[in-house]
Amino acid sequence: MMPVEITKDEILAVYPKVAQTMADALGCDVEKVALNVPLIEGLDAESIDFLDIVFRLERAFKVKIPRGKIVEDAQGDLPDAEFERKGYLTEVGLERLRDYLSEVPADRFRLPMKVADIPRLFTPQTFCKVVVRALRAVQGDDSRGRVSEGTGAPNTDG
């Protein structure tokens, strides 16, 4: 279940289109979008923007990005009760998330963390990785070891 590592080159290959998509969705200049800027705190993204971003990325890259799956993918095969309790991540859950969102600085993973607050960690790079996984799935690149848990995006209820 461990995701195959995504290379910097793969991320940089999709980044220009991802950055433009983010800028279009958030109504800001593309120059304001940086690979590792937090979308919520840095670019004022709200839950409806995540839904917008996911649909725009699907159209831009002609891929399917199931909603609400970044968290699901991070959880992987960990049972629900070991990943979170009463809406808060467990220590093991936090570790899983830190591994999955390896692009996010380690000091941003601190308990207590609500599951609902996980999108606060997301950056354009998070979505670059989502796109790379989705593209791999489309291309069926088994030589890389297809990512069985699929691709993801934040759950939104806006």
Binding site: G27, I48, D52, T156, D157
Partner: protein, 278 residues
């Protein structure tokens, strides 16, 4: 309850349905109205998509207006005319419905919606699910009684700031109570996004009129990247703003925004063109 399924309902009948995929419907614009806004034509298309999505979700969830990638306005519907409606659902799951759609008068296009997305929320928060299911069966069967829509008074615009040719800001009066709140929605009244858009377009037309060369009349031709960020509730103080992005060849593109308590609740862009032969 008399206003439920009438005061803000714009589908009289669903004439064809491929569950979860597409639908065709109709709405007879009541003859007695003084006019029928293009934004309400868009509402009719969105409501047809909502019926398909709610049926798909077995009336457990309903979509709310949130994103509209592009709305092309190519005609108008006058009182007494019958709108043909169509929607094509791109995807529909418990989280969101994505769709496109159109409205026509016979073979004449009036409006087209592209790349629309509505988050799906629990239906029971907005209305009684069994009543909604019953309404859907009515629409798919004999149809609802036409002529139910009584019309809506346009909210007043009160200018609060003006930079000539560049920017206009106005307060709009969202009523504390109105018949349409009993239909949109019975358990959770929300000011319809299409009524907000109508007010925003009126403000944009005013600014475009100050900037563009004199033309007999101006009209909105295209609304893009419309996004509703949160609900507007009855009686809330809403400010709307429009700003000129570009103007050339007698046409203009303007930004649209709406704020509640200083927070952005809606954004988008509109293209204004001279009214005339196509």
């Amino acid at each position: 309850m008399a206003d439920r399924f009438s005061a803000f309902s714009f589908v009289d009948r669903i004439t064809a349905l491929e569950p979860g995929r597409r639908a065709r419907g109709r709405f007879a614009v009541p003859a007695g109205l003084p006019k029928f806004s293009t934004c309400l034509v868009a509402e009719a298309v969105g409501q047809l998509a909502a019926w398909v999505a709610m049926a798909r979700a077995e009336f457990r969830r309903r979509p709310v207006a949130a994103l509209s990638g592009e709305m092309r306005i190519v005609g108008e519907a006058a009182p007494g005319e019958i709108l043909g409606l169509g929607v094509e659902i791109e995807s529909c799951d418990p989280d969101a419905v994505a769709y496109g759609g159109w409205a026509r008068l016979a073979d004449t296009p009036v409006l087209e919606l592209r790349r629309c997305v509505g988050p799906m929320l629990p239906l029971e928060d907005f209305d009684a699910p069994e009543a909604v299911r019953g309404d859907f069966e009515t629409l798919c069967g004999p149809g609802a009684r036409p002529g139910r829509f009584p019309g809506i008074a346009e909210p007043d615009l009160a200018l609060i700031d003006r930079v000539p040719g560049q920017r206009l800001r106005a307060a709009i009066s969202v009523p504390v109570s109105a018949p349409f709140f009993a239909d949109h929605f019975p358990r959770r009244p929300v000011f319809p996004a299409t009524l907000l858009l109508d007010a925003q377009i009126r403000l944009a037309l005013r600014l475009a009129g100050e900037t563009l060369p004199p033309a007999p009349r101006l009209r909105p031709a295209r609304v893009t990247d419309l996004k509703m960020r949160s609900f507007i509730l009855p009686g809330q103080a809403v400010e709307i703003e429009t700003a000129m992005r570009s103007a050339a060849d007698g046409a203009a593109e303007l930004t649209l925004a709406a704020m509640v308590d200083g927070k952005r609740v809606a954004t988008g862009r509109v293209e204004i063109v001279p009214r005339g032969p196509a």
